[in-house]
């Protein structure tokens, strides 16, 4: 396998990480102690378990329909990116998945690990393994990050029928997880997200993800507001956490994040549904050509 002109072009423009994750790149895991992270290869495996299955989903807020017949299937080991213009329903979709009370599902189904979750309370969905990294993480004054994380972790253990762990064991565990997002231990003793910078909040989200080890992680515009160093840290964390047994759905406007976390599938959302799906190249095309052509193709396809 040689280096094509196109790849040379990539060398010139793309960050290093995106290159090593390119399927054309001859990556030898043996040379890396048998481990793939922090850069990840494609994990598409037609035979792996279906983690999330969304069928003909419709949802509205205050009587206005936002999600209008959305279909999506996510298997274990996959990374999906959902892109689209503002107002296309991306963030709404993520909130509907985790059961935000403002949104009403009017039709369709959501199955998670084979179970219909529409009737589950948000905290039960969470403990069953669905995690949302918030676009705007909330501040909780007066509640220390450490307590918050411990109570959340124990809620997950309890839901699995495991015993809660005590303060000391938890402290050991969380120290370990801090490394994933290169966070300082001093953050644990501050109130949850209070006075955190945008980047610190996003890191705190990934710290929670590292701790709770979800089966399905949805990252809602986790890249927004991050400088390049923070973006790399956050992306490195996500890559490190993704395994053949879990799945990630990235919601993003920009190709930028996908340089670091390479998706197996890229979906384009418009008007409350997924109008087209492609590989990682689709994101690059969107970056260079904008959305209009996809929308146009969709319109023509629909009328045809």
């Amino acid at each position: 396998m040689g280096i094509s002109a196109e790849m040379v072009h990539c060398f010139a423009n793309a960050p290093y990480e995106s290159l090593v994750t390119d399927k054309n790149f001859n990556f030898n895991a043996q040379e890396h102690g048998g481990r793939y992270p922090p850069y990840r290869r494609g994990m598409i495996n037609e035979n792996s378990d279906i983690i999330l299955s969304v069928r003909d989903l419709r949802a509205s807020v205050d009587g206005t329909e936002i999600i209008k017949g959305l279909n999506l299937e996510v298997r274990a080991g996959e990374i999906h990116a959902i892109m689209g213009l503002n107002g296309s329903g991306k963030s709404t979709f993520s909130k509907v998945l985790v059961g935000h009370p403002d949104y009403e599902v009017t039709a369709g189904e959501i199955h998670f690990k084979g179970q219909n979750i529409l009737e589950l309370e948000p905290h039960d969905r969470a403990t069953s393994g669905i995690f949302l990294a918030f676009q705007y993480p909330l501040e909780i004054p007066g509640v220390s990050n450490r307590d918050f994380l411990r109570v959340a972790f124990n809620a997950h253990r309890k839901a699995r029928g495991e015993e809660e762990i005590d303060v000391f064991d938890f402290d050991d565990l969380i120290e370990e997880k801090l490394d994933v997002v290169k966070m300082d231990a001093s953050f644990l003793d501050r109130s949850v997200n209070e006075g955190f910078s945008g980047g610190e909040k996003k890191r705190n989200e990934i710290l929670q993800m590292a701790l709770l080890e979800p089966v399905l992680a949805i990252l809602d515009e986790t890249d927004s507001g991050l400088d390049i160093d923070a973006l790399k840290t956050v992306a490195g964390g996500v890559n490190q956490l993704s395994t053949p047994d879990n799945a990630v759905v990235l919601i993003t406007h920009y190709q930028r994040l996908l340089d670091y976390i390479v998706p197996d599938y890229v979906h384009v959302m418009a008007d409350g549904r997924i109008i087209t799906t492609g590989g990682k190249d689709l994101a690059k095309q969107l970056e260079s050509r904008g959305y209009e052509w996809v929308l146009e193709e969709f319109r023509t396809g629909v009328t045809a």
């Binding site: 059961g99 905290h123 909330l138």
Partner: protein
């Protein structure tokens, strides 16, 4: 609100049971004769009857205050029973064995065991049932160190000179409408006297229970700490659920002499009325401490969760040079509860210091006001005050107000006031939920974080109780 903030707060009141016990009550209504009758029933010394009559006559000339930020229908003072005592009560409380077992059971149910074998370790309890004190534990042990802890009725019999010397010196009979009423008709309460240079060997506690549906409770507590002494005092209150309102107009007076310290904590859980605002206690209480001596210290800590209406301003008058006043308060209102509560710090002496930390939490349709006065007199050179008033709103229909009054007459004084208002939002709760934490647990985490500064000041057993109490009170408030 989706699952409605409402449902979380609407935890049924678990102390709402009534004890079926025959009562010796005098007829409804208030008159000079009633005042005389109360005094006679209690076989009081002459000075006490004079005190009561003077107060009654003063009360007749006064008007009920209308300035608090609360509203309620007019109270018919002639429709209240001013004295009610369990009939089976032995005249002289020789030992607990003589106490009606039904009453002991009542207190057991409330988590206040009085019997020898089950007593709270290291806390002496004075239990007050309707108008009378039914038992005081650990009396003998306290007497060994010279500490007097008994009901005020008993103190009037056995230590009349001490009562006469201090009663009404901190809260004069005509101080306010409810204070005058209390001074005229008070039936019982606790009396504490800590002798010179004595550290009270255990925490003292009074537990108030209103049982009779028509009776008001007018108790009177007097605590005197001689120079160099110290005491920690806890007060707890509950009442059965009735759909009519009951009046509770108490007075607490504290006196701290040179270098003495009094820590006074209250966990108030009177019946607050049902979710439609029916029933509940009107809690109109005057609490005041006098730091009479130099370097004396009085600290009020209160957790107010009950009562339909709370009107209460535990205060400190800082007369002694370098004396210290503190006020730590958590006031929680839910449903239709109304609270107008806060403190007064009156700086008279030099280098006096006061701290006010007030946390108000309002849920459902309740109204929660902080009202505080910081007054620095002309001679209070070097006086300092720090006040912090934080309010938290749960849901969209509750209200919180802060009315700070600051009067400074000495240019060397330093007065700081900070205030904040926050809200437990749906989004915050959703954030917790998305991490697997149920709304109930989320609210209790947020609230205990909010109240931490105050809970840290409570004696340990009380702090745990307060935390639990708030969590219970707020169950089903949020969703």
């Amino acid at each position: 609100m989706s699952v409605s903030v409402q449902s979380l707060v609407s935890q049924p009141y678990k102390y709402g049971f009534t004890t079926d016990i025959e009562a010796d009550a005098i007829p409804r209504g208030l008159s000079e004769d009633v005042v005389r009758m109360i005094s006679a029933k209690k076989n009081e010394p002459a000075f006490m009857l004079e005190f009561r009559l003077k107060a009654y006559r003063k009360w007749l000339t006064m008007k009920e205050p209308i300035w608090p930020n609360v509203s309620y229908p007019p109270i018919d003072y002639q429709n209240i029973v001013y004295y009610s005592a369990p009939k089976t009560q032995p005249k002289k409380l020789g030992s607990l064995d003589e106490v009606d077992p039904t009453m002991l059971e009542t207190f057991e149910k409330l988590g206040i065991p009085l019997s020898e074998q089950k007593r709270l370790a290291n806390v002496a309890v004075d239990a007050i049932f309707d108008s009378v004190s039914i038992a005081t534990t650990y009396k003998e042990k306290l007497a060994e160190s010279g500490v007097i802890f008994c009901s005020i009725s008993e103190a009037l019999q056995e230590h009349p000179e001490l009562v006469e010397k201090y009663l009404g010196t901190v809260v004069p009979i005509g101080d306010n409408y409810f204070a005058a009423l209390n001074s005229a008709v008070f039936s019982d309460g606790s009396f504490v006297y800590i002798p010179k240079d004595t550290q009270c060997p255990m925490d003292l506690s009074t537990y108030f229970r209103i049982n009779n549906g028509d009776s008001g409770q007018f108790e009177r507590t007097l605590i005197v700490a001689e120079s160099g002494s110290s005491v920690t005092y806890l007060e707890g209150c509950t009442a059965p659920m009735y759909d009519s309102n009951q009046l509770h107009a108490a007075i607490v007076e504290l006196v701290a002499l040179d270098n003495a310290t009094i820590n006074y904590s209250t966990v108030q859980n009177w019946f607050a009325g049902d979710e439609n605002g029916k029933g509940g206690i009107y809690n109109f209480v005057t609490k005041r401490g006098l730091c009479a001596g130099k370097n004396s210290k009085i600290s009020w800590t209160q957790v107010e969760t009950g009562s339909a209406i709370t009107w209460k301003y535990p205060s400190c008058v800082l007369v002694g040079d370098s004396s210290v006043g503190e006020f730590y308060s958590v006031a929680l209102t839910n449903n239709h509860q109304q609270a107008d509560t806060g403190t007064k710090m009156v700086h008279v002496g030099k280098n006096t210091r006061s701290t006010i930390i007030s946390k108000g939490i309002s849920a459902a349709k309740s109204k929660n006001s902080y009202r505080g006065l910081v007054k620095i007199g002309p001679k209070a050179t070097g006086a300092r005050n720090y006040s912090q008033c934080d309010s938290m709103l749960i849901g969209d229909t509750s209200s919180a107000n802060t009315f700070p009054y600051i009067q400074v007459q000495n240019s060397t004084a330093q007065v700081e006031h900070e205030a904040s208002t926050s809200k437990i939002g749906e989004d915050q709760l959703f954030y917790f939920a998305q991490r697997g934490i149920s709304p109930e647990d989320a609210v209790s985490m947020i609230i205990s974080g909010f109240c931490r500064d105050v809970f840290n000041k409570l004696p340990m057993e009380f702090a745990a109780e307060a935390d639990k109490l708030l969590a219970l009170k707020l169950e089903n408030t949020v969703g």
